[in-house]
């Protein structure tokens, strides 16, 4: 059998992403480490990006494809804005991502996408995709190097799987923002402990529906003033914040 060496156009850059939908908010998080093999390329390479005031896209897998894909999605959103004088609704962005990914079905973007944000009806939403565009709306999803570590933890904490409610009560249909943030932070600290490609830093994007009262968030913000930044552009619409934290660097 003759052997040939050929150029592999893909590589894996590690990292993990996670998104959880609340009733009127959505949380999308990713660590900031970019690695190749056993080397850390950089401790800060963002994987989560604001698309619009109501949509955030996290991309994970092969970073060159991920960054290029985000660029192309942003370009399509800008064309939509010029053509329709409004931002693209979240479920439309999800469908757009499917068609963009499937267009390269025979030389795929090697990225696992998670789109999070606020739907037209004001509910929190998470859409997750495979590299060739298969997608689904879910309450929560983890992707990337530590997916197998994080997803079962989320099944237990978000969907209350294998848990029986106390007699006479039911499990809450939606979790509060502080609970969701704790689960996100614990997921990443756990993943950092047990997976070498996860660590360095954590960026959590929070998107709030237009109608949502931000009281509970303001208390969190007051305690973490220098860690939280607002990214909202428009007035009177959805609001979007990013919370940055450190993760272990080893």
């Amino acid at each position: 059998m003759p052997q040939t060496r050929s150029f592999d156009p893909y590589t894996e850059n590690g990292g993990t992403i996670l998104a959880i939908a609340g009733q009127d908010f959505s949380v999308i998080a990713g660590d900031t480490r970019q690695s190749e093999g056993y080397s850390i390329q950089t401790r800060y390479a963002p994987k989560v990006f604001r698309l619009t005031d109501r949509a955030v896209l996290a991309v994970n897998g092969f970073a060159a494809d991920g960054n290029m894909f985000v660029k192309k999605v942003k370009q399509r959103l800008e064309w939509y804005r010029h053509a329709h004088a409004k931002d693209m609704p979240l479920r439309a962005i999800a469908r757009l991502i499917q068609t963009m990914l499937y267009a390269k079905r025979f030389f795929p973007y090697y990225v696992y996408n998670i789109l999070g944000g606020i739907e037209e009806d004001g509910t929190g939403a998470v859409y997750s995709f495979d590299p060739v565009g298969s997608y689904e709306r879910e309450a929560c999803r983890a992707a990337g190097a530590a997916q197998s570590l994080v997803q079962p933890f989320l099944d237990n904490q978000i969907y209350f799987k294998n848990q029986v409610p106390a007699p006479g009560t039911t499990h809450p249909a939606y979790l509060s923002l502080p609970d969701v943030l704790s689960i996100v932070i614990d997921s990443f600290t756990s993943a950092t402990e047990r997976h070498i490609e996860v660590g360095d830093g954590l960026e959590i994007y929070i998107v709030f529906a237009k109608t949502r009262d931000l009281q509970d968030f303001e208390t969190i913000r007051a305690k973490n003033v220098h860690l939280i930044q607002e990214l909202t552009v428009a007035e009177d619409g959805e609001r979007i914040f990013v919370l940055r934290r450190d993760l272990k660097k080893d």
């Binding site: 150029f7 156009p9 850059n13 950089t42 092969f62 970073a63 290029m68």
Partner: protein
């Protein structure tokens, strides 16, 4: 009209293929050219090893040795692997040197075009890096890469810039970056010396840590050379030094006995 009998249909077998439909008649492929079609996927031939770069107080410093290897042969020992691009940027290349020369000519054309515009806008390191990222990613997407790992460093409008792009189109930015063996051997040394101190690290300290790293690389990387250059980019522009020599010490060699544990 096909004159070659071996390209004509072979006899059919009435038992299972009465109309001679299988295999599907193939038209002969008589195209011939020196490259058997298009040349794509490659291997690097004449190569440069590590490039190192750091951010320091006044800007960026980048270092690379003067060697272009031909496999294990140290073929060209006076090669400049650091290239100034305009007044704000320096590009350091490892990997295939012919692909680097092609990139240099593309960038030179770009700078000339920009110059002729005379619109008071100059291409800064961020633009050069973006251009190279798109170039490299585009070539990898045609499965015909420019086989390099490039470091782009620069200083413009009071801001320092340092980023990496390679043959896959992978990019990243940090305050210390190294390519090739440098990413294993030099990067830990650079991170220890620089991380957290980018705004106070002096020019002398920056040069010292780069030289120390190049020294360790010369000891440990079998495809390196003890002749090197350092480029500096600050608000006053780009300057690439003359070639300098590393001061190595091999006197320990006389004391070696055996292959490792032996001391007598």
């Amino acid at each position: 009209m096909d004159h070659f009998p071996t390209n004509w249909g072979r006899p059919r077998n009435d038992a299972f293929d009465a109309y001679g439909t299988y295999p599907i008649q193939q038209r002969p492929n008589n195209i011939k050219d020196n490259f058997n079609g298009v040349q794509r996927t490659q291997q690097p031939i004449v190569t440069g090893t590590s490039v190192l770069a750091i951010k320091y107080k006044d800007g960026i410093m980048m270092a690379a040795d003067n060697l272009a290897s031909y496999g294990s042969l140290a073929r060209f020992k006076d090669v400049q692997r650091l290239h100034a691009v305009g007044n704000h940027t320096v590009l350091g290349a490892s990997g295939d040197m012919s692909d680097f020369q092609y990139i240099q000519s593309l960038l030179d054309d770009l700078i000339i075009e920009e110059f002729t515009e005379q619109d008071e806008h100059t291409l800064g390191p961020a633009e050069i890096h973006e251009y190279l990222s798109q170039l490299m990613y585009g070539r990898r997407s045609k499965l015909n890469p420019l086989w390099n790992s490039l470091l782009v460093g620069g200083y413009k409008d009071g801001k320092r810039f340092l980023a990496y792009v390679d043959l896959l189109g992978t990019t990243y930015s940090a305050s210390t970056i190294a390519t090739g063996y440098g990413s294993y051997i030099a990067q830990p040394l650079l991170r220890k010396a620089v991380e957290g101190r980018e705004d106070t690290l002096t020019e002398r300290e920056a040069q010292a840590i780069l030289e120390e790293s190049l020294l360790v690389l010369f000891y440990r990387d079998a495809r390196s050379l003890d002749k090197y250059q350092i480029a500096k980019v600050t608000e006053s522009g780009v300057s690439i030094s003359e070639s300098m020599a590393l001061r190595t010490s091999w006197s320990f060699a006389e004391g070696i006995r055996g292959y490792g544990a032996q001391t007598q």
